[in-house]
Chain length 219, copies 2
C-alpha cells in the first residue's frame, strides 16, 4: 500500500491531504488494493456496486453492450481515474456499464460506507476527504451535462462548434489541443467519423476554424 501513497496524494480524492494523513485515512475507511489481470472485469454490467475505486496503475475501459451487440465505450480509465464513484454513492447501485482491465492493473478499492461513516477516532481530514468525494461526483455530473450539451445540437457543425468552444474556454486560448483522435471525437459527439471529417473540412474552408490533427484554432 505504502508505495502508492505518493500517487494517491496526486488524486482528486486525496487532494489537499498530507501523505501521513492519507495513510491513516486508508485504514480508517477500509481501503484495500485489488489486482486485476488483463481482460478481467472490475465491474460487471448489472451487478451491484458498493465500493468505488481509484486506478493505481494500468489502463481500463468502461463500456456497455447495446441491444444490437455493439460495444459502446463510455470512458477510458488510466492511473488516477475513479471507478464507480456515482454508482457507489447512488441508491440503486446497479451498474449500467462494465469496467474491464485492458492490461494487468491495480485498483484502490474503498467501500462507500467506510468513506461516509464518521470514524469514531475522528481522524484528521476525513472531512476533507468527504468534500473531495462530493466534488468528484459533482464534477462527473458536470461532464455528463457538457456532453449532453453537444449531443442536443441539431447539426454536425453545431455539435462540433459547441465542443470546440468549450475546450477552447477550458484551456483559455483560441488555439488548443483536444484529447481525442478523430474516431474518439466522432464517438463522443455521436456522429460518423467520415461525416465529422467532412464537416471539419467544410468549416476550415468557411474560415470558421483551422486545425491539424488534434490541434485546433477558432477564428
Amino acid at each position: 500500500m505504502k508505495n502508492y501513497l505518493e500517487d494517491l496524494a496526486q488524486t482528486a480524492l486525496f487532494a489537499g491531504i498530507e501523505q501521513e494523513n492519507i495513510e491513516k485515512l486508508l485504514g480508517c475507511i477500509q481501503a484495500k488494493v485489488v489486482e486485476y489481470k488483463k481482460d478481467e472485469l472490475i465491474i460487471e454490467e448489472g451487478s451491484k456496486v458498493y465500493d468505488f475505486g481509484i486506478m493505481l496503475s494500468g489502463h481500463g475501459r468502461a463500456f456497455k453492450i447495446d441491444t444490437m451487440g455493439r460495444i459502446i465505450i463510455i470512458t477510458l480509465l488510466k492511473k488516477g481515474s475513479e471507478i464507480g464513484v456515482i454508482l457507489a454513492a447512488g441508491s440503486d447501485h446497479k451498474s449500467p456499464v462494465s469496467v474491464q482491465a485492458q492490461e494487468d492493473l491495480s485498483v484502490l478499492s474503498v467501500p462507500f460506507d467506510g468513506l461516509i461513516m464518521r470514524c469514531k477516532n475522528n481522524c484528521p481530514q476525513h472531512d476533507r476527504l468527504l468534500r473531495n468525494y462530493i466534488n468528484i461526483v459533482a464534477e462527473k455530473g458536470m461532464v455528463l451535462h457538457e456532453r449532453i450539451d453537444c449531443l442536443l445540437k441539431p447539426t454536425v457543425r453545431e455539435k462540433i462548434m459547441t465542443y470546440l468552444v468549450r475546450v477552447s474556454r477550458e484551456q483559455g486560448c483560441r488555439t488548443f489541443t483536444i484529447p481525442f483522435d478523430r474516431y474518439a471525437m466522432s464517438e463522443y459527439l455521436n456522429i460518423e467519423r467520415s461525416a465529422l471529417s467532412r464537416e471539419l473540412s467544410k468549416m476550415k474552408r468557411d474560415g470558421l476554424i483551422d486545425f491539424h490533427k488534434s490541434e485546433f484554432k477558432l477564428l
Copy 2:
C-alpha cells in the same frame, strides 16, 4: 420556516430525519427561505453558485439559450425539486443554465459550506443529511447518464425503445405511464415530435408496442 417542516420531511434531502431534528439542522446549516416573483431568475446563466435550493412551492424551469437564440429546456422544477445541487458541490460553480420562477414561489436556500462543515455542536443526523445530499448528486448523475444512453442510439426507434424499456423496468411492469407528453418526450430524446409520432405508429403497427397517450405497453 416552521410551516415547511412537513414538506421538507418528504424531500430526498431530509429523508429519514425526524421533523424536530430537521428544525435544528436548518439553523445549523444556515438555511433560509427565499421568495421569488414570477419570471424572476433564481440562477442566472454564467453566474457562480454556492448555495443549492429546494423548491418549497410553485413551479420553475431550468433552461439555456443556445447560440441560435433557441431556448433549451433542461429540467422542469416543482415542489421538492432540487436546484443547483451539482453546481454548489462542484469546483467551478459557474452555472451553464438559468433557473426561472414560472410563478411566485419560495425556495429553501442552503449554502453548500453550511451543509458540509461539521457543526461544532455535533447536531444529530447531520451525517444523514450529508449522505442524503451525496445521494442526490449521484442520482442526478445517473439520470444524465440514462439520457445519454438514449441520445446515443442511432435511430429514432432505438432511442424510443431504450427509453421505454427503462421506464418499464423502473415501474416494474410491461404496462406503464411515462411522465411526458409527446412534445416533452421528443425533446428528451432530441427528435422531432412528428418523427416521434410517426415512429411510434410504425412500432405499434409492427407489434412492438401498444400505447394510448402517455400509457405504454411493451409486447
